[in-house]
């Protein structure tokens, strides 16, 4: 009886301690973990542990959605889709942290079957227990009131909405309209309906969605980046190898940092600017704690 009570108190107090620690960090601005190295599984784990490890985000028994970019029918070296090694490592870490189920999906632009196969993600996760790599099903989209500046409501994917933890796992690349596609644009992969129609106001529309739907963690795959002819590329001459993975709980900060990898300033990206102005996160590099591991 005594021992149980002791553990209870210990557990409770650790909760408070934990919250206190977090507040301390928040006061200092978001932590952006930047891991570099050629062992892509290793740097993914390093970036995660710099944020306190996956167990900080995923609790035993939880359902996790890992949302990479599987948008295009391109093989991994073209940098149009998220590196399968990074995806696999994140999924493994979720399972290690005790996730009951990890779901991996994206609303693709090319044929989903080909995208899932060519990206290498389907085969990387094949045979893993409690991991689902699924094509989207139309009926699971749910209308969500966004009450944003340009989008009043939009259909978002039910399994993303109902997940206990949502991990955003984009690849950093060039985009013809928004200049870059990073964390905030990756959320388009859970948007239903006519996504093309939001292009007329893409920065505000994406800020609207990101204001309402907030990933618990954003990991940006910059192991190799696509510097031109995005978002699908197709020419290895446009691909630059950086061997970096960026992790942050603040999606705006993650995007802001990733922008610098392309030789641009965070404010050059309209989506980042719009989100920052709405208070969705930090884009001032000086106000972040950039932890290099």
């Amino acid at each position: 009886m005594e021992r149980r009570q002791f553990i209870k108190i210990l557990g409770m107090s650790s909760l408070f301690l934990h919250g206190w620690l977090r507040n301390l960090f928040a006061a200092q601005g978001p932590v952006v973990a930047v891991a570099q190295g050629t062992d892509h599984a290793g740097i993914t784990r390093k970036a995660l542990s710099a944020l306190g490890g996956m167990q900080h985000f995923v609790k035993p028994g939880q359902t996790v959605v890992v949302k990479p970019n599987i948008g295009w029918d391109r093989t991994p070296e073209y940098a149009a889709t998220t590196n399968p090694v990074v995806v696999k490592t994140v999924v493994e870490e979720c399972l290690k942290a005790g996730a009951k189920r990890v779901k991996v999906f994206d609303r693709t632009c090319n044929d989903p079957r080909r995208c899932y196969a060519s990206s290498g993600i389907e085969s990387a996760l094949k045979g893993m227990k409690n991991v689902e790599v699924k094509h989207l099903e139309e009926e699971r989209f749910k209308k969500v009131a966004l009450n944003g500046k340009v989008l009043k409501e939009w259909e978002l994917y039910g399994e993303a909405l109902s997940a206990d933890v949502y991990i955003n796992l984009p690849v950093a690349k060039h985009h013809g309209l928004s200049r870059l596609t990073l964390g905030m644009k990756n959320v388009m992969g859970i948007m239903g309906g006519n996504r093309g129609s939001i292009h007329k106001n893409i920065d505000q529309a994406l800020a609207d969605v990101n204001a309402s739907f907030r990933p618990h963690l954003t990991l940006i795959d910059a192991t190799r980046i696509l510097t031109a002819h995005g978002p699908q590329g197709g020419n290895l001459a446009d691909v630059k190898i950086l061997n970096q993975v960026i992790a942050c709980t603040d999606i705006v900060a993650a995007d802001a940092y990733a922008t610098t990898l392309f030789g641009l300033k965070p404010a050059d990206i309209a989506v980042t600017r719009a989100a920052y102005q709405r208070g969705l996160g930090e884009m001032d590099l000086d106000k972040m704690r950039i932890v290099r591991v």
Partner: protein, 523 residues
């Protein structure tokens, strides 16, 4: 259906094979298709004859068809009684259909009136045989009507289950996955001519009302062709006539014994008579080349058939120019006339098309082009890395090209309609087309232009344009254009479909798309 005979087992095996191959004619995670239903067309003598007559060349792809034709010389219409899946289906249902007796209009020379014009039209360069080819008829009915109907029904049920159960439906997911992965079409596609395709098939079933295997005996051009050949061969049944003391053959024979003399060109070698003869008299023997007696057809039928072919090939050539402007053929088809000579309208390319971009033509290609495949980009586009249609085409009308070569084939060229296109018409950003353009250097590009918006505010918008030298007409731009209804960019047919130049730079993709180039680090 009472006794299981060897012929029946063969029939059922081939029907099963046909259905399995039909389901395999679909993308299953690999760039190459292991086996497709095209085997049935390659081994189809009618396809072989009509295509080679039209192309006036020997086509190695269709060698199996010629082999079957030569085999028919010795074995008669064994194809009809042992292999043909449509014949098998008729045999399976005929027992349930009450017979009212033969139709007089069909008992004469009707079948020659079908076969001769079709082959003559082939000679004149229009390959129409596939329209009435039994395998093609069956495949089209399955592809355009029955399979989508099945998919629609099952998926509809699965969907409505979600409204009832919500996320708890996931418990049933493994079972549904099996069904979805192996039996259902990947997406629900509505095809034009679905009704006609189903109707023709149902009509053939309906003919069973009049007599057994009515279609096979009286109309089927493939059967007629095989029958003609078998007349020349040495295989004969003895006795050739009904025996006066028994006449049981009249009961057992599914096709040939409504006259006293066995009609060799209608006998499908099912062997029922030999197996059931009470006195074991019936034998099938190679009696030496003693041609069948009796005329094949009267001279007027022959001449009329030829004339009919001329009318078929020359009477339906009109093409509506506006429809023709959007007449986009599958990738690799560079010449319309060549295509019409080889395309047997089997429907396989439309079945296999990864993005459901291919649809059967109704009148877009003129009446003579009915059921030939065309790309409808607004409904589906040609996937850049996909080469499936060329792989399954039984006659090579759509060439089977390696991926890198297929990517350079020109289907048409994209053209903007500035009256609709948002950056021009509304002076706001869009360029979804540029984003989706799969060409590594982008065939759609945009220039940043300062404009005064209609709200009076100056802004920079990106106005897209097409680089013709890079556009292969895949149609993804037209497909994804976010405008409702008519797209602001459309692919139009071009006469000169010389493939694009090989792209400069860019290493070829690795041989194994699943191999991860980053495994173990390194770059």
């Amino acid at each position: 259906m009472k006794k299981v005979t060897t012929a029946r087992i063969s029939q059922l095996l081939f029907l099963a094979l046909f259905l399995v191959l039909f389901l395999m004619t679909e993308y299953r995670g690999s760039d190459r298709i292991v086996a497709a239903v095209n085997g049935f067309f390659r081994a189809n003598p009618l396809t072989a004859a009509s295509t080679m007559l039209a192309a006036k060349a020997y086509l190695p792809l269709l060698l199996p068809g010629l082999v079957v034709l030569v085999a028919a010389l010795f074995l008669g219409r064994f194809f009809c009684g042992w292999i043909c899946p449509l014949g098998t289906i008729l045999d399976l249902v005929t027992g349930r259909i009450r017979k009212v007796g033969a139709v007089r209009a069909l008992t004469g020379r009707a079948k020659y009136w079908l076969l001769l014009p079709l082959l003559t039209a082939s000679l004149l360069g229009v390959n129409l045989a596939g329209l009435l080819d039994p395998i093609a008829l069956l495949l089209r009915a399955l592809t355009f009507f029955f399979h989508p109907l099945f998919g629609d029904t099952v998926r509809g049920g699965w969907r409505s289950l979600y409204t009832v159960m919500g996320e708890r439906r996931d418990v049933l997911d493994p079972g549904y996955r099996l069904l979805r992965d192996y039996l259902l079409p990947f997406r629900e596609t509505l095809y034009p001519l679905a009704f006609l395709s189903a109707l023709l098939f149902v009509l053939i079933l309906f003919l069973e009302r009049y007599e057994r295997r009515a279609w096979c005996r009286r109309l089927c051009p493939l059967g007629t062709l095989l029958g003609l050949v078998s007349r020349l061969g040495p295989l004969r049944r003895t006795p050739a006539k009904l025996c006066a003391d028994c006449q049981a053959c009249r009961e057992h024979c599914p096709t040939s014994f409504d006259q006293d003399l066995l009609q060799t060109e209608e006998c499908i070698l099912c062997m029922e008579c030999a197996l059931r003869c009470p006195s074991r008299r019936v034998r099938f023997r190679f009696t030496g080349a003693r041609p069948q007696v009796g005329t094949v057809m009267e001279r007027r039928v022959f001449l009329g058939g030829l004339l009919g072919g001329v009318v078929l090939a020359r009477g339906f050539r009109f093409r509506e120019p506006t429809a023709e402007a959007k007449l986009l053929r599958p990738p690799g088809v560079r010449d319309e006339d060549e295509f019409l000579k080889k395309c047997v309208r089997c429907g396989e390319c439309m079945k296999v098309c990864l993005r459901s971009a291919l649809y059967p033509a109704f009148f877009q290609a003129g009446a003579e082009g009915i059921y030939t495949p065309l790309v409808v980009p607004r409904l589906g586009y040609c996937e850049y890395n996909c080469t499936l249609c060329g792989q399954v085409c039984p006659t090579g009308a759509i060439p089977d090209l390696p991926k890198e070569e297929k990517q350079r084939q020109v289907i048409g060229k994209a053209v903007f309609d500035k009256n609709h296109c948002l950056p021009f018409a509304k002076r706001i950003d869009c360029i979804v087309c540029e984003e989706h353009c799969p060409i590594p250097g982008k065939a759609i590009r945009s220039e940043r232009v300062e404009v005064t918006g209609f709200d009076g505010i100056k802004r920079i918008v990106q106005q897209p344009y097409v680089v013709d030298e890079l556009c292969n007409g895949c149609g993804i731009c037209e497909n994804v254009c976010p405008l409702e209804g008519k797209a602001a960019i459309e692919v139009f047919r071009v006469k000169d479909r010389t493939p694009l130049k090989a792209p400069a730079g860019g290493a070829p993709p690795p041989s194994d798309p699943y191999a991860d180039p980053y495994a173990g680090g390194g770059s």
